[in-house]
């Protein structure tokens, strides 16, 4: 259990962002729904007023059609959309990515920027307690924003002219709200973990971006490199990799992309996959990032607060990873300039990318690392 005192201390730091997140969460869940309903309304009105413009869709007298008929994909009246268009997944996820990173950087990064970190570490609490308190307060913000926003969204739909869209789909909407909640906590959790990679708030945000992009990015680079050397290599292999369970666990963005948002309402198999793989991948990612974050927070050398990378003994590894990634990027970029792809150009791009990455890594990891500290 987190300490009440630590929660109070962390609340003092993050309260403004927390309240803003809840407010914007409510806005993100409800306003797009409202707007989409207005769009539906206008479309229906337009169809009713100008039926001749829709003669290819409308096969019967528009006067006899009720609102429900416009959303029935099996009827001859046309199809305006469904619940998937009403639920604002994208807006909410964008909000959670931004606020997850902001809250985490205030809770850890900006503490490391100031003497607050020393103060926290000198208190009679273990580092585990300190970390759990930060995680709980951030996750609570996302939970409150999702539950309040999601409930309001549900009620808005329920009491609107489009209530029939919910019929039989209540559990699925609830499932999507839970998925959004878990995705939000995933983004916050990874960002909090990155607070032990970077020694201050800006580098924490940079590392968060890297952590979110890295799993998909590295597979894309390997795919580009393999295809540069053997153009006939099966694309299906990499598609399977992207859709695989380990990739969905390692990358919350990949999990969202692979969640068949538009088909879970219609397809039973998609719904089953969503319930099993989609939700459990999110939970696994949260458990993984929380565990790693806690471990690294406990191990992070406090004397490196303020640096771009906290674990100075592992700078060499980060250096090598940066070089490999940028070298592959250079190779993929150069080989893609001409068709058919050239192995020679890949090698040239690889070498140039590696060289530039080496210079960048030297500046970023060694000189900039010390400069930030000072």
């Amino acid at each position: 259990m987190p300490s009440k005192v630590l929660l109070k201390k962390d609340w003092k730091q993050v309260s403004l962002l927390w309240i803003l997140l809840v407010f914007l969460g409510i806005v993100a869940f409800t306003v797009p729904v409202w707007t989409q309903m207005q769009v539906y309304e206008e479309q229906i009105r337009d169809m009713q007023e100008n039926p001749s413009n829709y003669s290819d869709i409308l096969r019967e007298d528009v006067e006899t059609m009720n609102t429900e008929d416009f959303f029935n994909s099996n009827s001859d009246y046309g199809y305006l959309g469904g619940l998937e268009s009403l639920i604002p997944m994208g807006v909410v996820i964008f909000l959670f990515v931004i606020f997850g990173a902001l809250m985490a950087s205030v809770l850890i990064g900006s503490e490391r920027n100031s003497q607050m970190s020393d103060f926290s570490m000198s208190l009679p609490y273990t580092r585990t307690q300190l970390y759990i308190s930060k995680w709980v307060i951030g996750a609570a913000g996302i939970t409150v924003a999702t539950l309040v926003g999601g409930a309001l969204m549900f009620l808005i739909i329920r009491f609107s002219d489009y209530f029939f869209l919910l019929d039989g789909n209540e559990v699925k909407v609830l499932g999507l709200i839970v998925f959004l909640l878990l995705s939000g906590i995933s983004f916050f959790s990874v960002s909090l973990w990155m607070g032990s990679f970077g020694g201050e708030s800006i580098s924490q945000v940079v590392w968060t971006f890297v952590a979110l992009v890295f799993p998909m990015g590295i597979v894309a680079l390997i795919q580009g490199s393999v295809i540069a050397f053997s153009p006939n290599f099966s694309y299906t292999f990499f598609e399977e990799v992207f859709e695989s369970v380990p990739m969905r666990i390692l990358s919350p963005l990949n999990n969202i992309v692979n969640t068949g948002m538009y088909s879970i309402f219609d397809s039973r198999s998609e719904w089953t996959e969503f319930l099993t793989i989609g939700l459990s991948s999110s939970i696994a990612f949260i458990v993984l990032t929380f565990g790693l974050g806690l471990w690294m927070f406990k191990e992070a050398p406090q004397e490196n607060n303020g640096r771009f990378f906290m674990f100075s003994n592992w700078l060499w590894l980060i250096h090598i990873v940066i070089i490999i990634c940028f070298a592959m990027l250079g190779g993929v970029f150069f080989s893609g300039i001409f068709y058919p792809q050239s192995v020679m150009l890949y090698v040239v791009g690889f070498v140039i990318g590696a060289f530039l990455a080496h210079l960048l890594a030297k500046r970023l990891l060694y000189r900039f690392n010390l400069k930030l500290k000072s």
């Binding site: 009440k4 005192v5 109070k8 201390k9 003092k12 730091q13 100031s114 003497q115 607050m116 020393d118 103060f119 570490m121 000198s122 208190l123 009679p124 609490y125 273990t126 580092r127 307690q129 050398p301 406090q302 004397e303 100075s312 010390l370």
Partner: protein, 293 residues
């Protein structure tokens, strides 16, 4: 009893602490002195468990601070600025301390605030002296057994410095707590410290009482018959403070028979031993201090 055992720490492959070893008894005020970059702040941060050592341990009683975070209820670290609490009002900081430390004495803290006329404002809005008084008063109101203070009087005016020192002395007298204080304000430490720990390049150069420190080196004013001998001025083992006509004032790291014989060989008119201040001891033992007052 606080025991620092063979504490070593490297940062960026540089040795910051190198086998630091000492003990502190209850009711002692220890002055931690050393030049800038000697490792004083790192030592204090390690002693409260903020930084983990590469080797060695810090024991409060028989327990290691790195294994038992609960020990920190009795070990208060006060850094050189109130930056950590700058967004708190004085009352909010009081509430925070009270909730963290069950032994926090609110009335004692209130008394200090009233005595020094400190209002309930955001801590960042207070003057530097008031900030120092608030952070120290908060720390002392905890009624802990050990206090680690990093430059508590740095940048304070004479009155505020005096108030801070009074607070420290009052705590030791009242509660027999131990205070380890790092400071460049040597003449202030001189007034309160029982023992001095000199740190040089991450090592303990000497641990001694003020009397022992004073006895270790000498400060002489010598009046010669004719002129100050050039051979004296050229000696490497002394530091010349001033030369005025036939009068020379100098300090030597050690009192040696050879030095005494050397001075006597010139048949000086007068040899007067001047009492060493802590600053003098610091200058001659650790090679001077640009920021020493």
């Amino acid at each position: 009893m606080l025991k620092v055992e063979q504490l070593s720490k490297q940062i960026d492959r540089q040795t910051i602490l190198d086998g630091i070893d000492f003990t502190v008894e209850s009711g002692e005020i220890i002055a931690l002195v050393g030049r800038n970059g000697a490792g004083k702040t790192t030592l204090l941060r390690t002693m409260v468990g903020i930084i983990r050592p590469d080797q060695g341990d810090v024991l409060y009683g028989t327990k290691s601070i790195f294994k038992d975070a609960g020990l920190k209820r009795d070990v208060i670290f006060v850094p050189d600025s109130a930056d950590a609490l700058k967004h708190y009002t004085v009352n909010e900081a009081t509430d925070l301390y009270e909730s963290i430390y069950p032994s926090f004495n609110r009335s004692a803290f209130r008394e200090t605030l009233t005595r020094y006329n400190i209002e309930n404002k955001k801590i960042r809005q207070l003057s530097k002296g008031q900030k120092a008084l608030v952070t120290l008063s908060l720390a002392f109101a905890v009624q802990a057994k050990y206090y680690l203070l990093d430059e508590p009087t740095d940048g304070l005016d004479v009155v505020a410095k005096s108030d801070v020192l009074k607070l420290m002395i009052a705590q030791v007298e009242k509660r027999n707590c131990s205070i380890i204080v790092s400071s460049h304000q040597l003449h202030e430490l001189e007034r309160i410290a029982d023992r001095i720990i000199m740190i040089e390049s991450g090592r303990v150069k000497a641990i001694m009482s003020l009397e022992e420190a004073r006895a270790l080196s000498i400060k002489w004013q010598v009046v010669f018959n004719d002129h100050v001998p050039v051979e004296l001025l050229e000696r490497k083992d002394i530091e010349i403070i001033s030369v005025t006509g036939r009068v020379v004032l100098f300090m030597a790291k050690e009192r040696t028979e050879e030095l005494e014989a050397f001075i006597d060989s010139y048949n000086p008119t007068l040899i007067e031993e001047i009492p060493m201040s802590l600053e003098d001891v610091f200058r001659i033992q650790l090679g001077g201090e640009a920021h020493a007052v």
